[in-house]
Symmetry: C2
Subunit: 225 residues, 2 copies
């Protein structure tokens, strides 16, 4: 009986995987790490790893996020759990996937000896991914597209101060469609989520742009677009 239980239950482990997004070079990018072990040698994968017995699943996701980006206190939300029997060939792994949004800042990406590298990739031209990570990315992108339309999470992708143009660009990149400039500004300003700062952009060969900042950096539900 004990043996039966062992066979039947104890081989399953829990992991977390994190889809970390940023806007870079006018595209939505995701952070990937390069595998060094067979059978995924030189393939790319989402950062992640096992959940230890003494950490919560949320903490595990935070830990993996921090280990690659050095960032804490950023937008991180549970996405979906993936539990097919054969999704990981090393054994039975149930993965709780998360997605994170970080502003486009120059960031020193970190890695460990365990991996062959870490880099950003545009979500529209991804390399072949290990495991079922292609599916996870697909779910993450859908979720991001949905949430940007009825929440204020876009603040997570922008620097502290930003122009209305930058804001609009983020929407256009993520939704993959153009929006009318005047309508966009009217709508977004009427939401009351952002306020003018005292500052303007400098240096462009054109009229300086007003810089804005988010009043609130807490996730809220409000129809944006």
């Amino acid at each position: 009986m004990k043996k039966l239980i062992k066979k039947k239950y104890n081989l399953t482990v829990v992991a977390t995987d994190v889809a970390i997004f940023t806007i870079k070079d006018g595209e939505l990018n995701i952070l990937l790490i390069k595998m060094q072990k067979k059978p995924f040698l030189k393939q790319w994968a989402l950062p992640g790893g096992l959940v230890t017995v003494d950490e919560s699943v949320d903490s595990s996701a935070k830990r993996h996020l921090f280990s690659k980006t050095g960032l804490k206190k950023i937008f991180l939300e549970q996405l979906y759990s993936f539990g097919e029997v054969n999704r990981d060939i090393f054994g039975r792994v149930v993965s709780v996937a998360y997605f994170a949004l970080i502003p486009n800042v120059d960031l020193v990406l970190k890695t460990t000896k365990e991996y062959g590298g870490v880099d950003w990739f545009p979500v529209n031209s991804l390399p072949k991914l290990a495991y079922d990570h292609k599916e996870i990315v697909s779910v993450a992108v859908s979720r991001l597209r949905n949430k940007i339309e009825y929440t204020n999470i876009v603040y997570s992708l922008l620097p502290k101060e930003f122009t209305l143009k930058q804001l609009q660009d983020v929407y256009e990149i993520i939704l993959n469609k153009t929006v009318d400039k005047r309508n966009f500004r009217k709508k977004f300003l009427s939401l009351g989520l952002i306020t003018k700062t005292a500052n303007f952009t400098t240096g462009g060969t054109h009229r300086p742009a007003q810089l804005y900042t988010f009043k609130n950096k807490k996730p809220q539900e409000v129809n944006t677009l």
Copy 2:
């Protein structure tokens, strides 16, 4: 069983819990089972249990749903995963919660010797729940409220043929607000999700009501209310 695993192998295990909803006596009800073991003796909990090594997490949820209701092929969707370290006092258990919707039919609920009973409870007057199941129910109810507004999942809560009044009642019960009869009918009919059948209600001391049926019993995204 859980205790054995924790003590002996110091492992994290994966479980599923299912929030099964139906409309009953004009209220939203949820199915609960009665615990027979300390420390939750005589407390109520969501149906669920461990994921075996040879079944997917989805299959596990389906299995637990079937074991209590005898139903297959009903609406079942992953809700959220709960992974706090101490959420289960028997050991480290990460639970993937699901929610299910079943029509209000007379259903013979089943249980096993492991539990002291199984019954429906209105979500607005629940008994004390074991584990963190109160939180799971709360997340499930929120999700249901949200999804009923932008999908057609309401079909899962109604019998094959139903009146517009029944349909409206379901919305009013779940959203906990009244809606205008004429606007509701106009809106819902214009969505094209349902069609008239050849049948009418009989027996009431009033004008018979047209019976309708859903064209499609697949989840779709369409703004309903």
